[in-house]
Subunit: 218 residues, 2 copies
DNA sequence: ATTATAATGTTCAAAAAATCACATTAAATA
DNA sequence: TATTTAATGTGATTTTTTGAACATTATAAT
């Protein structure tokens, strides 16, 4: 069985491979790729091996063909339709990133909002009323949604999405959504991500043991 | 030594604890917290134990006091000043989230941009010219920056930040930044995060082995 | 054509993380 | 007060992940 960590690394490798390709390289060794991605060469070979991505015993990996296989694994031959719910700060920022998603064959096909002011104001993607979302999802067979609504509405919106048949949610609210077993939620907690930076930077990359000891004294 | 995974879980626990507190609870058992956070009760106790967060042999954990200790660990008693570089889609979205950061004592104190149109247009946070950034960082002793500039400028901006003394960077560009050992980079790759959702949702949470087998045949 | 080389791919070992099991102990109860 | 109960906290065990070692093989050199 495959775990997320593994997949995340594959996506990281792709990023590096694209960079190498842009630099004009045709082939790459596990060592080069590992150095760029910040993982060991063995890890690269292990991951590739697991996904049946093969190289050449002496010449390393052909960048183009690895990228092709990665695209195949990530179903890049298919059109990946995604909707955004909540066209506020985050929702709008994402909708303006069209080209960034497009190169990865991720198509933001529609936005939905409860606020009349935001509806149909033509951004890069059309924005519709929440009441039409259920039908839209069903008729267009949408499987994945980005949620960027206020935290207070998150669970409510989530339930609507799940009932309509959504199978994967990228959630920006700092709320742990209740979903059925078969629905995937990827929580993006930007405050947490910032906090980790602050914490790690300030503690110079390791826990301040003295500080923890202090905790025991009060 | 402490690893990010551990810290990330602590932040997750805090999210749950805040929720429980809002619901009126005063105490919580490792079992409850684990259920909410989606980890085992033992994991909770191990993590807490590692950070010297203690509970009560029969009565579980006092929510308020655990939150206090978490705040202490994450230095919530200190003011955490952060700057944003690049006031485009993402940068502006973050700058409008002021209150969200404020409750976590993360203060977005300033934005910086190269585009005259975006400078000093008073958003929630003041936006200055890039040329004044180095001085601002030094005089205000800023340690952490959010980077939301186009990918093409990412490394260039990163170098300026590092030279000015920045110790932690939250980076939204799909670019692996070259930084010295002592500088922390947290890469937020929203396309990757979306891709993981798509991948996992479409493959119903596990790798499609038949698909991988196909890979070996071409 | 043969040999040397240098990379992959896989097996085996070590390290890390998660889970289990249980001893400990605070609270409730009789 | 003594006993039972129910939770924590931690040492032992298992599982997962990572790293090292090496056998394999495509390419280059002789
Ligand atoms: N903006 C940020 O930088 C940021 C950072 C971290 C986390 N977040 C989180 O992301 C989420 C969105 O943040 P934001 O700043 O974009 O918020 P926002 O208020 O700017 O936008 C929310 C949008 O959702 C719409 N909405 C409200 N209720 C709705 C409903 N029931 N159905 C459909 N649409 C609804 C609103 O009309 C609005 O357009 C929040 O949970 C926030 O905590 C945001
Ligand atoms: N917008 C999204 O939803 C999204 C999603 C995923 C990734 N990203 C990534 O995040 C980054 C920012 O995206 P965005 O959509 O906010 O871009 P944007 O173009 O809207 O904003 C970039 C801002 O940076 C400024 N800038 C350009 N060069 C600069 C420099 N050298 N110094 C300082 N400022 C400079 C520009 O003036 C602009 O205001 C990009 O790397 C993008 O790939 C964005």
């Amino acid at each position: 069985m495959l775990i997320k960590k593994n997949v995340k690394r594959l996506l990281l490798y792709r990023l590096c491979l694209v960079k190498f390709r842009e630099m004009g390289f045709k082939r790459v060794y596990s060592y080069n790729l590992g150095h760029e991605a910040g993982v060991s060469a063995e890890q690269i070979r292990k991951d590739f091996s697991h996904f049946k991505i093969t190289g050449n015993k002496k010449g390393g990996y052909d960048i183009e063909s690895v990228l092709e296989k990665l695209n195949y694994i990530f179903r890049k031959n298919e059109l990946q339709k995604v909707i955004i719910v909540g066209m506020g700060n985050i929702g709008r920022a994402l909708s303006h990133y069209e080209c960034g998603f497009t190169v990865r064959r991720q198509y933001i096909v529609a936005g939905f909002d409860i606020d009349p002011v935001k509806i149909k104001k033509t951004y890069n993607v059309p924005v519709y009323d929440m009441r039409s979302m259920d039908e839209y999802i069903r008729t267009n067979n949408i499987q994945v949604a980005i949620m960027a609504v206020p935290s207070i509405s998150a669970q409510e919106v989530c339930t609507i999405l799940v009932d309509a048949g959504i199978k994967g949610i990228m959630n920006f609210s700092p709320v742990l959504l209740q979903v059925p077993e078969n629905v995937i939620v990827n929580n993006i907690n930007l405050c947490d991500e910032l906090e980790i930076v602050i914490y790690t930077a300030v503690n110079s990359n390791s826990i301040n043991e003295a500080m923890i000891d202090n905790l025991t004294r009060d």
